[in-house]
């Protein structure tokens, strides 16, 4: 949920134009995994800013806690111990959360008008008051990010602090990150910074260092610098070629004109019905039933 409303690029399940009077710069959050010390300050800052609190859990034999994203934990650190080279241990710690795709699968999948929006700055935001709790966005997300709340049947995820960004601030996780592993700025600046980081990593022996900015979803507004960009899956299952699922593509792609046609037919049918039969009247009996149900 956000303060923004004047600079929306697109909205879920909406055919009318979106407000676009204000144009904002495209933003990007860069997570440099090679600088991350796994301190979880970003997890704390996220909960503090958004005033959410997860339950106090248990230890499950790993450092990860909470163990997964939840409707209250919109970001978590994921820890992977790997020996990619014989005898050379690496502890790869990745901050997981919404990637804010340029082509958001959640938005495409969402049938609730205006429940998912994409601002012109690239942030993909959920407007929970419009959410119908169907969970299609969860199916539509190639990164398995949104989480459905049992309390209110709404779906929650990282907003990239769209409220802070709208007011000219950086996201809370960026503000708190002690090592500068998470940085935020214009897309252009961040890509340049990421490229510099890759040069540094290559000079330190990471021949396959690179940027994770997957094109299968049109690029993302959260990108990673990875030591092993050739093997994103070693970072606790970061997908190699994420894309929007075929069902969502079908529903919003090929099927959409058909659906629109169907919708038009319904409208035409209704008009025909009105012309030929007159307006529908609700009988007093049915109205009473409604009242009783209330």
């Amino acid at each position: 949920m956000a303060l923004q409303s004047l600079d929306i690029k697109r909205r879920s399940a909406t055919t009318t134009p979106s407000p676009s009077q204000r144009q904002t710069q495209e933003v990007l959050k860069l997570i440099d995994v090679s600088k991350c010390i796994g301190c979880k300050a970003c997890q704390v800052a996220c909960m503090e800013w958004n005033d959410t609190r997860d339950a106090i859990g248990a230890n499950h034999g790993v450092y990860d806690n909470p163990m997964d994203l939840t409707e209250n934990s919109w970001t978590v650190m994921r820890y992977a111990e790997l020996e990619l080279e014989q005898g050379k241990l690496e502890w790869l710690i990745r901050k997981d959360g919404c990637m804010h795709c340029a082509e958001p699968g959640c938005l495409k999948a969402c049938p609730a008008p205006g429940a998912v929006v994409q601002y012109s700055n690239g942030i993909v935001d959920f407007h929970e008051e419009n959410c119908i709790g169907c969970g299609y966005c969860i199916t539509g997300c190639p990164f398995n990010i949104p989480r459905l709340s049992k309390k209110d049947s709404k779906v929650y995820k990282c907003t990239l602090c769209s409220d802070r960004v709208a007011a000219g601030l950086e996201p809370a996780c960026v503000k708190t990150c002690p090592t500068g592993a998470i940085v935020f700025g214009s897309k252009e600046d961040m890509i340049r910074h990421a490229e510099e980081r890759v040069v540094d990593l290559k000079s330190r022996g990471f021949a396959n260092a690179g940027i994770y900015n997957p094109q299968g979803v049109g690029g993302t507004h959260v990108i990673y610098v990875l030591q092993h960009a050739d093997r994103p899956e070693v970072y606790c299952g970061l997908p190699r070629n994420p894309s929007i699922g075929p069902m969502v593509e079908l529903w919003k792609g090929a099927a959409k004109p058909l659906a629109s046609l169907g919708l038009a037919m319904v409208v035409a049918g209704a008009a025909f019905h009105y012309v030929t039969k007159g307006p529908n009247e609700v009988s007093a009996e049915i109205e009473k039933e409604f009242e009783d149900e209330k």
Binding site: I37, G38, K40, A41, V44, A58, N59, A181
Partner: protein, 806 residues
């Protein structure tokens, strides 16, 4: 820190050893990231565990807990045998050329003068040879068989890469790779910074571990340099302030020392500390000891302190021994100490062998706890199952809890690791009945003074005459206390060079400790902090971050002790002729008439290089000590001794002397140490980034991040023991047991040590029986009651345990 946090960005090589900066000091760690990103620094971590620091290191070397002196001694040997020392620096600025007295000896693990029965050394042979001119003798050619450099070479010749590997369990190749990186910084234009913390201090040879590293830095010419130094990372935001203000039992403020039992004569007390130069032309700054001491007494006792009564010297307690925390709890345990004030401290959780602490606390008549939280100590009498298995009905101690504020609820200064005093402002009102610590202490003091006034008593003088000029006596403000430790003129002060010129008028705040006098005309609560609140105002509140040199010194940001100097010993950043070793990291330089530059000179500002004054002005010889004389309890050169609970039952260097021969061990504790047969695994306790000590288990967000107690073991040990990640395990030492979830990890590896496999068990320590995180066991149930031979800091980092699936 000899340097400061920001300065780490200037380093070429960063060694984190005996600490875990990323995890325990994540905010300061940003400067490591900065050095890597913009100074192309190489970052090395040496630790028994692959920590979150190691996760971002260029090179990681494992070593067995407690074997750091062997490792660093091996580096010293490497530097000497590969000729990778900064020759000019070593010759001019260390005591390498000094000749050691005849009679000094090191043989089979013991230095000359050992008294086995007393577990102490007669240190008289650990000395320089003194010439007829009363100065120490030196051999500029460094060839004399008894000169420090030759003795040093001889001492560390035993620390070969093979020996290091055998003691530490570090692979030879990995060790040599670390040596190579460190050795690159012997070039005058490259520096190594060392960041350490409790991973060095909490051993029975902790002080000597730190010394070994400091000696290495002297050999490399890295002391006094931007991007160099020995950098102790302090764990609590103001623990540096605590030590500076003398809150240790044998210290007075500003590292002045308490007189000992035999020191009943005032002049003798001063003379022993006001050391005369040991070489011609040296400053030996402690010659000013008397000025600091008299000004302190004037600050405390005002007009009552006079020349005639030796500035109230007789009022100071005379120590028969050091009353460190282990000694105090030993006395309590013996029933000889029966009242205890516990302020901002949680001894039940923080001191070793919890069972012993439990018994000790139960012998008290009263216990006063001043703390913002309901600590375990304040609830030591409550029964909490296995977590705190005591019988409240049998405990008679009266516990009085006085709730205090936390740092965010008061104004004041915090002294960070880099010696910066930074002023902060109250952010919130304290809850309920909580009061600032100063108010609580003031309340107790005023009541005591009233009682002494009314009833007299055996020795009322120091209480009745203590200076107490606060505007509201029950509420001394942080501002008033700060002005007091800065000090003021008690009479008009004139310029020593021109007596007609008045520098400060009576009552004005001092500009710094250079103005202190020993004639009673100045008062100063802590000479080191003088300059923090001058006539110009609160220097600690300054927030000008301009940095013209780009070295990060920002000398108009807050105030750094001493005298706002940012890098200690910075005279050593220049060659003897006064030219910086490296122009790119010029801290100061001789401009023909004075020393000046990006930092405040840690030196006599107008002493020309030709005067021959050396950079280590606090030492009577003016140079850094590779040979420590009689300053350390267990020897002038650091030697590897095993932890008191060793997993290898021997010391490969000298099997007859296994552990620190000069460490104090109380009766009953020695017999109680575990042996490897019953307790085969090397255990170490530590902190996690998600928590701060035993406090943050009281806060929900930290509890969410690490909710439950766990221990860590290697995959190999887990397999051997049939343990899986997430299982409950029982870990026990000869003192007790804990139960916790187990994390099975690749980050702890079995090490090959002296012909056997040594497994580590890692024990994070943040849980207890109070707070909102899941309840757990205090880790100090397991740890041994023995400390470093010099500081008595307990050996929390190396002991023995056993482990089984619960």
């Amino acid at each position: 820190m000899t340097n400061h946090w920001v300065d780490i960005k200037n380093a070429n090589v960063i060694l984190v050893m005996g600490g875990n900066a990323a995890e325990a000091h994540p905010c300061g760690f940003k400067w490591v990231t900065e050095a890597k990103a913009h100074n192309h620094a190489t970052f090395i971590v040496v630790d028994p565990r692959f920590t979150r620091s190691a996760a971002v290191a260029d090179l990681y070397a494992p070593l067995r807990t407690g074997s750091d002196i062997a490792f660093l001694g091996g580096v010293i040997n490497y530097l000497l045998t590969h000729d990778k020392i900064q020759h000019e620096y070593v010759k001019a600025y260390t005591n390498a050329s000094f000749i050691v007295a005849e009679g000094y000896k090191f043989d089979d693990g013991l230095f000359s003068g050992y008294d086995e029965a007393a577990r102490k050394y007669d240190k008289s042979t650990w000395a320089y040879e003194i010439g007829p001119d009363a100065f120490a003798r030196v051999d500029e050619t460094l060839q004399h068989p008894r000169c420090v450099l030759q003795l040093l070479k001889q001492h560390y010749s035993r620390y070969t890469p093979e020996m290091v590997s055998n003691i530490c369990g570090t692979a030879r190749d990995t060790f040599l790779k670390v040596c190579e990186h460190i050795a690159t910084t012997s070039a005058p234009n490259r520096t190594l910074t060392i960041m350490y913390a409790l991973g060095w201090t909490q051993h029975t040879v902790g002080s000597q571990m730190i010394r070994t590293a400091a000696m290495m830095q002297l050999l490399l010419g890295n002391m006094g340099m931007a991007g160099g130094g020995m950098n102790a990372l302090r764990g609590h935001s103001n623990i540096q302030g605590l030590t500076d203000l003398g809150l240790l039992s044998d210290l007075l403020p500003g590292y002045l020392t308490m007189p000992r039992e035999q020191e009943s004569d005032y002049q003798g007390y001063i003379d022993k500390r006001a050391l005369k130069p040991l070489r011609p032309g040296q400053m030996s700054y402690w010659q000013n000891y008397g000025k600091f001491h008299v000004s302190l007494m004037k600050s405390w006792f005002g007009d009552a302190a006079t020349k005639e009564n030796n500035w109230c010297f007789d009022w100071l307690p005379k120590l028969d021994k050091v009353y460190d925390v282990l000694q105090v709890f030993e006395l309590m345990h013996q029933g000889k100490l029966n009242g205890y004030f516990c302020q901002g401290f949680n001894p039940l959780a923080s001191f070793p062998n919890k069972a012993k602490i439990d018994v000790a606390l139960a012998k008290l008549k009263y216990l006063v706890v001043i703390d913002p939280l309901a600590t375990e100590t304040s609830c030591f009498w409550e029964h909490h199952g296995d977590f705190n298995n005591v019988d409240p009905a049998r405990i008679r101690t009266e516990v009085i809890r006085l709730p205090s504020t936390c740092f965010a609820e008061e104004n004041g200064s915090l002294t960070n690791s880099g010696r910066w005093l930074q002023w902060h402002y109250k952010g919130a009102e304290p809850p309920g009945e909580a009061k600032p610590d100063a108010d609580i202490i003031a309340g107790i003091f005023l009541k005591l003074r009233e009682l002494y006034k009314k009833e007299g008593g055996a020795f009322p003088d120091p209480i009745l005459n203590l200076t107490w000029n606060y505007m509201i006596p029950h509420t001394p403000s942080a501002e008033e206390l700060a002005r007091e430790f800065n000090g003021k003129a008690l009479a008009d002060l004139t310029d020593p060079k021109d007596p007609t010129k008045v520098v400060l008028t009576k009552g004005q705040q001092l500009d710094g400790f250079a103005q202190l006098r020993d004639d009673g005309s100045t008062a100063c609560g802590c000479w080191l902090y003088s300059g923090a609140w001058t006539e110009k105002g609160n220097m600690m509140a300054r927030r000008d971050n301009s940095d013209p040199s780009g070295l990060g010194n920002t000398i108009n940001w807050a105030f750094a002790w001493p005298a706002n100097r940012r890098v200690l010993y910075n005279r050593a950043s220049c060659d003897p002729a006064g030219k910086p070793w490296d122009q790119k990291r010029k801290l100061i330089g001789w401009d023909g008439s004075k020393w000046s530059g990006a930092d405040i000179p840690d030196f006599k500002p107008d002493s020309a290089p030709s005067d021959g004054m050396n950079p280590f002005i606090m030492l009577p010889e003016g140079v850094g000590r590779l040979f420590a004389l009689d300053k350390m309890a267990e020897g002038p050169f650091p030697e590897h001794y095993e932890p008191f609970e060793t997993p290898i039952d021997t010391n490969p260097l000298h099997p007859k002397v296994i552990s620190n021969p000069a460490a104090r061990v109380f009766k009953g504790d020695m017999e109680g140490f575990g042996k490897s047969k019953e307790y085969p695994y090397a255990a170490t306790t530590y902190r996690l980034t998600e928590h701060f000590h035993f406090w943050t288990k009281h806060t929900r967000l930290s509890a969410i991040m690490q909710p439950e107690q766990f221990v860590e073991i290697s995959e190999e040990l887990a397999k051997e023991k049939g343990i899986k990640a997430g299982d409950q395990v029982k870990v026990w030492s000869s003192r007790g047991f804990i139960k916790a979830v187990v994390v099975v990890t690749k980050r702890i590896k079995p090490l090959q040590v002296n012909g056997r496999i040594v497994h580590h068990v890692g024990i994070p320590l943040h849980w207890g029986f109070k707070g909102i995180a899941k309840r757990g066991y205090l880790a100090n149930i397991l740890t041994p009651f023995v400390g470093d031979a010099n500081t008595q800091t307990p050996e929390f980092k190396s002991f023995l345990v056993n482990i089984e699936k619960a």
